[in-house]
């Protein structure tokens, strides 16, 4: 059965704002009412719901890594997830692993970040792997650390090995190494 087109469609961005609770009560109720009469806009909301479920499912399965910041790390702990956290000092190293019961593996890279405009995170690859560079990562300069979730699924597949990461400040004059971090990973396979 085809969905009739909407005569006054709500934009995808506004539906995202509606879904994330960013609209005031009056606007929210107008959209509530519209969606109860409109399958075309409802299908767009279904897509947002599916993306939400997909992002959550992929994150919970440890299928990708990302910068999260200290606030979200605290929130994950409040949600009852089992966190394994490693704090690595600037130019320091840490012995690390991932257990079968760990939900999320969080790394905290300490660094002096004040005054930095753009910060890149470089992961030096295993032999045969290319280095990966995440450009212009979000960071909290006042907190003095970069907090990220590593993809647990990848970590579980790693043999015992050493991985290095670097924080690099970038500005008009060029690049500067901010910190170098070594992870001595023990396989639990």
């Amino acid at each position: 059965v085809s969905t009739p087109p909407c005569r006054d469609p709500i934009s995808f961005d506004v539906l995202v704002e509606y879904w994330l609770g960013e609209l005031n009560d009056e606007h929210t109720q107008r959209i509530d009412a519209h969606l109860l009469g409109c399958d075309a806009c409802g299908a767009k909301l279904d897509e947002i719901v599916a993306l939400t479920d997909g992002v959550r499912g992929a994150f919970d399965a440890g299928l990708f890594g990302t910068i999260i910041g200290a606030g979200f790390a605290r929130r994950l702990a409040e949600l009852g997830l089992r966190l394994r956290e490693y704090r690595v000092q600037r130019n320091g190293s840490v012995a690390c692993s991932v257990g079968p019961d760990d939900d999320v593996v969080i790394s905290r890279l300490s660094a002096p970040l004040s005054g930095i405009g753009r910060l890149d995170l470089l992961r030096l690859g295993q032999p045969g792997e290319p280095a990966l560079r995440a450009e212009d990562i979000p960071f909290d300069a006042a907190g003095g650390e970069v907090v990220f979730v590593a993809p647990a699924a990848r970590l579980r597949a790693l043999p015992t090995c050493t991985e290095r990461m670097q924080l690099i400040a970038v500005d008009a004059s060029g690049e500067r190494l901010v910190g170098d971090y070594t992870f001595n990973h023990s396989s639990t396979r």
Binding site: R30, H34, G37
Partner: protein
């Protein structure tokens, strides 16, 4: 409580004549029961009520409960002639959604009694299933985004957080988060929609 016909203003453009015609059939059939019309009304409106529940309850099971309760109550009141204007069925459903949501939030739900009484007459099996995405595909597409886009999207959607909340967690401004979210979502939707490459 729960028996009063409730209308909430819905813009004229949102009035859906096909649903209204079906509601009129159900009301006109009383005291007989037009199961075909009831099933059709359920099939059309239940997914919309479920969306309302998902938005306001943030839980698929609670949203399904709300969907069933609202639809049972709407059909019950149509059968009983308690809907004054069946032509405005969508606004009646909206009012019922709000009432049932409030009752659920206060723990006053008549769920068991209603579903015992009407559950057999209403089939939930034939309504559309919410679309689902393959998590590996989503992860692959997230991996193709810029780091800021990935961070903002994960923090926004993992717990349905506003731009203000995400901004404070990442040390960005709310306006910046909205711009990054817009750009990242466009790329994510495009990638997910294209399928594996």
């Amino acid at each position: 409580m729960g028996n009063a016909a409730t209308f909430v203003e819905v813009p004229a453009d949102d009035a859906c004549t096909e649903e209204a015609a079906i509601a009129v059939r159900i009301a006109a059939a009383a005291p007989e029961v037009d199961r075909g019309a009831e099933g059709e009304l359920y099939r059309r409106l239940a997914p919309r009520v479920r969306r309302y529940g998902l938005r306001h309850l943030r839980d698929p099971h609670a949203a399904n409960d709300l969907m069933q309760l609202v639809m049972v109550r709407v059909i019950e009141q149509l059968r009983d002639g308690k809907v004054r204007e069946p032509l405005r069925i969508v606004s009646f459903v909206f009012g019922t959604c709000r009432m049932v949501l409030l009752e659920q939030q206060r723990g006053e739900s008549r769920r068991e009694k209603l579903l015992e009484q009407w559950g057999d007459a209403i089939s939930v099996a034939d309504i559309s299933v919410l679309p689902r995405l393959d998590h590996r595909r989503v992860a692959d597409c997230l991996g193709r985004l810029a780091e800021r886009e990935r961070s903002v999207i994960v923090l926004s959607f993992y717990e349905e957080r506003s731009a203000d909340d995400v901004a404070s967690m990442l040390g960005l401004t709310a306006g910046n988060v909205r711009v990054i979210r817009h750009r990242g979502l466009a790329r994510l939707r495009d990638c997910v929609g294209r399928g594996p490459t």
